[in-house]
Each structure stands twice: as structure tokens, then as C-alpha cells.
Amino acid sequence: MKYVLLLMGSTTEPECGDAEGPDPREFMAFDQEITQAGVVVDSFSLHGPETAVRVSQGPSGEPVVTSGPFAESREFVGGSYVIDVPTVDDAIAWAAKSPGSRFGWIEVRPLAEY
């Protein structure tokens, strides 16, 4: 079954992205481990929320474009893995191994297959 591991962070966390934050080498080590296990379908890393651009629709249907970071939403997605593993327990185990679960949290969701 395919699961998405969404690496989440919070803008209120002091260590987020700072010197006390996660060591990139830890993420690389994890990436190597999960890739070698052969379970990765896809993955991506995102630039920080300050680079985000929000697109929505205004009252008359006109596009509204706002630049990040967004004061009202303190959570942001840092990156993601799409993995293919037998059960949710396997997905949870990978999420628990990821450094992302230490410095932020990881949301595990099953991929909806239509």
C-alpha cells in the first residue's frame, strides 16, 4: 500500500531551520536508508514557507496571489516521501526513523487510489 510521509514543521518552533535545527547529514543518512530499502516511490524537499506563494480566488472570482510566510498558518510542509509498504505499521516505523519526526512531526496518510 502506498503511503505519504509528510514532513511537517511549525514556524513557532525555535530550532526550526536554525543552528540548533536538524543536521542535514541526518536527513541524508535517512534518505539513503529508506531508498536502499527499496520502498520509495517518490520524494521531494521544499524550500521554506517564506518562499511560498498562495493562490486563491477572490470574491468576484479573480485570482488572489499572496506571498509567504503566512502569519495565520503556523504549520508547513517541509518535504515528503511516497512509499510503498505492506501495512501502516511499516509506514509508521519509517516515519519514526526519520529525523523529521524529531524536529517537527510526520503526518502519515494512505494514498488514495482511484
Binding site: V88, D89, E113
Partner: protein, 419 residues
């Protein structure tokens, strides 16, 4: 001569809850999907009703049902590619395993891994607590949905929805019905034990409604705890939970009077305690206390053991109980444990000290809403001769949520106050 439809229906009705639950558990574990297991079991029961009048009742009805259900499940899997892939990934056994082995397993009185697998699946951390309890009652205890609804005091339709959504979540999320390796099992056990404990406490003291005790829920919980203990005989907390439930259950007959009104511990007729259950509980409590991995249930069982061993309320070793609550509070800090510790301290050290400790807890919002907190204050104030303050505390207790039998008790106590 072949049986009539009525006779067949009678045979099928005679297949108890236990056996149905075991069939379901075996199917769920086999195919890794509880919804599929439920469907094919239902279909095989319908098939039995249809064909047995013609062919006669088989010598082992359970084995027939199991084989039929299994075949139907394999058919479903063959037709549904997506499901087939998903089930294949769950590493289920192939269809080449001998059906004879399954019928032997079902025929025996022993409880196999499939019950544990079912319990673990229903209590998976990915599910919400109310979902876990509902699923456990429905699929492990085998209670029909209307009874589960009654246990939660919700409309049947609400409970049906909850169970349907929980099963959909199980399928969508890929929650497995399998016994995990030992270290993972150790991690998962506290959640399972808590569900069983909650089933018991819900039966022990109903959170609302006319009755104080729901005997069938408490029996259900004791049964589940026994199943767990049979499967995991050396795990301390499992023995501890069973001990706690047995010791509490042993006092059940004395806990309420003929009108169903609760009788407080000091006034219980101890001759009405079930000494056989108590002896078993004491033995298990001791076993748990001596084992590694002892935790909250072992400690709570130890408290219950001290009560059970006391020949009378006056002879209870409150100092020991206080020491146990000190340990429990460190392990599991929380308002209810703190309350129970304060009560024990009052008994061990005198009502003045007890009141002081209770009043220290008055800042807790949770306890302010908790009926037993105010009752405890009222009892302590009565002991100190402060009738007016006791009356006020009882009145606060009455204002809070609880069952009607408790209310009768509180009103009795208020009536007994001087002045």
C-alpha cells in the same frame, strides 16, 4: 431424514458469540481485512441456512462455515484486483494451507493467535479511543451493534456509523490484523490493556443512566483480560490488569444494595465478597508484583489486594495503600490518582490531613467536575463534624454528571447528616 429449516436455524442460533468471534478473528487474520471477513461470514451463515436442510447438518458446523467463508473470500479477492494486491502485500498465507488445520484449531478449546490479532487490530493506535472500544466490543467480544450502542448510551444508528467509519478507516489506512513481533507487541500492549480497562470501568460505574453497574460489560472485560492472560501468561501488566479486574469483581455483590444503590466500601458486607475470585486475583496480583515490567495495573491490583486481604475496613493497611499510591502517582501523575492518594492519606493520617490534601487539589478543573471528588470531601467533612460544609459538598456532587443510583446514595447520605 434431513433437518427442517427451523432445526437448521436453531443449530445456527446455537453457535455462540464466542465461536462467531473466533471464526471472524480467524478470517480477519487470514485475509487481513475485517470488512471482508464479516461479509463472507454472513454469507456462509446464509448459505448454511439454505443448503443444510438439503444436505443435513455437517458434523462440524464451525469447520463447514470456516471453509465456506474462506472460499467466498478467495472468490472476492480473485474478482477484485486492487483488494488482491493489497492483501498480497499483507503477506497472508496462501490458499495452499490445509483446511484441516483450521478446523482442528477451531474445534479445540484453546484460544489461538487470531484472537490476539483481532484485539491488536481493533486497538491499533491509528484509531481513536472510542473507535477502539467500539470495535473491541463488536468484534472481539462479539456483542451485536445494538448492545454496543447501549453500552455507550448512544442511538444504534450512531454506533453503526461509528463502526462503519472505523472499518473504512481500517481498510483505507491498511491497519493489519496480525500479531506483531515481540518487541512491537510490548509497545502495543498498553493501548490494548487500556481499552479492556475502559470497558470494565464503563460497566463498573455507569457514567449515566439508571443503573450503577452493568454486569455484562464487566464480565466482557474480565473475559477479554482472561484471553490476554492466556495468550501472554508471563507479562506482568496483563496479569496485573486481570488481577485488578478480578479483585474488583469479587466485591461486586456487596457494592450495591437490593435497590441498586451503591454501598461504600466501609459499609460493605464482606461476607458477600466472592472468595474464589478474590483468591485468584490475589495470586495474580502477587505474580504481577514479582515480575519485571510491572506498571500501573500491577500497582492498582496491589491496592485492591490490600483491601481484599483486610478482614474489615477498620483493619485495612492504609499506610501500605498510601505508599502504593505514592508510587502510582509518580508513574501516572493525574487528577484521579491524586484524588485516590489524598483519600488514602486521609485514612492513614487522619481526616484533617485528608481534607488538607483534598483542598490542595481544588484548583484542578478536572476534579471540580468529578463527582467522587466532592463526595470524598463531603465524607471527610462529615468525619470532622462539619455537617454544613459536608452538606454543601454533597450538593456540589449532585449537580455533576453521574448515574441515578449514585444520586440516590448521595441523597441518603445528606439525609443522614445531623441538623
Amino acid at each position: 431424514m434431513n433437518p427442517t429449516s427451523e432445526q437448521v436455524a436453531h443449530v445456527l442460533a446455537g453457535i455462540g458469540r464466542e465461536d462467531r468471534a473466533r471464526l471472524l478473528a480467524a478470517l480477519a487474520r487470514r485475509f487481513g481485512d475485517i470488512g471482508l471477513a464479516e461479509d463472507v461470514l454472513q454469507e456462509s451463515l446464509a448459505a448454511a441456512l439454505e443448503t443444510w436442510p438439503g444436505t443435513g447438518v455437517p458434523r462440524s458446523p464451525l469447520a463447514w462455515l470456516m471453509t465456506t467463508a474462506r472460499r467466498k473470500a478467495i472468490d472476492v479477492v480473485r474478482r477484485d484486483q486492487v483488494l488482491a494486491q493489497k492483501l498480497a502485500r499483507l503477506r497472508i498465507e496462501t490458499e495452499t494451507s490445509a483446511p484441516a488445520a483450521e478446523s482442528v484449531a477451531l474445534a479445540s478449546d484453546g484460544v489461538g493467535d487470531e484472537r490476539l490479532a483481532m484485539l491488536l487490530g481493533c486497538c491499533h493506535p491509528a484509531l481513536r479511543e472510542d473507535e477502539r472500544i467500539a470495535l473491541t466490543l463488536r468484534f472481539v467480544a462479539g456483542l451485536p451493534t445494538p448492545e454496543v450502542a447501549r453500552a455507550f448510551l448512544v442511538p444504534v444508528a450512531t454506533m453503526q456509523q461509528r463502526i462503519v467509519r472505523a472499518k473504512a478507516k481500517i481498510r483505507a489506512t491498511g491497519i493489519p490484523f496480525a500479531v506483531p513481533p515481540e518487541d512491537e507487541l510490548a509497545d502495543r500492549l498498553p493501548v490494548v490493556l487500556r481499552v479492556v480497562y475502559l470497558v470494565y470501568t464503563e460497566g463498573y460505574s455507569r457514567s449515566s443512566g439508571p443503573h450503577h453497574v452493568r454486569a455484562d460489560l464487566t464480565s466482557e472485560a474480565v473475559h477479554l483480560a482472561r484471553v490476554l492472560h492466556r495468550l501472554l501468561p508471563t507479562t506482568a501488566e496483563v496479569a496485573g490488569l486481570l488481577a485488578l479486574l478480578l479483585l474488583t469483581d469479587a466485591r461486586r455483590a456487596a457494592r450495591t444494595d437490593a435497590d441498586g444503590v451503591p454501598v461504600p466500601l466501609p459499609r460493605q458486607d464482606r461476607s458477600r465478597w466472592d472468595r474464589t475470585l478474590a483468591a485468584e486475583g490475589l495470586r495474580l496480583a502477587e505474580q504481577a508484583a514479582g515480575s519485571r515490567g510491572a506498571g500501573t495495573y500491577t500497582l492498582q491490583a496491589a491496592v485492591a489486594a490490600v483491601h481484599t486481604e483486610a478482614p474489615s475496613h477498620a483493619d485495612t493497611d492504609w499506610t501500605q495503600i498510601l505508599a502504593l499510591y505514592d508510587l502510582l502517582l509518580r508513574l501516572e501523575p493525574g487528577p484521579v490518582v491524586a484524588l485516590n492518594r489524598a483519600i488514602a492519606a486521609g485514612k492513614a493520617l487522619g481526616p484533617a490531613e485528608g481534607l488538607r490534601l483534598l483542598d490542595e487539589l481544588s484548583a484542578s478543573a478536572a476534579l471540580a467536575r468529578h463527582r467522587p471528588y466532592h463526595v470524598a470531601r463531603a465524607i471527610t467533612l462529615t468525619e470532622l463534624g462539619r455537617a454544613e460544609d459536608a452538606r454543601a459538598a454533597y450538593a456540589r456532587a449532585l449537580d455533576l454528571e453521574g448515574n441515578a443510583a449514585e444520586e440516590t446514595f448521595i441523597e441518603h447520605e445528606m439525609g443522614r447528616l445531623p441538623g
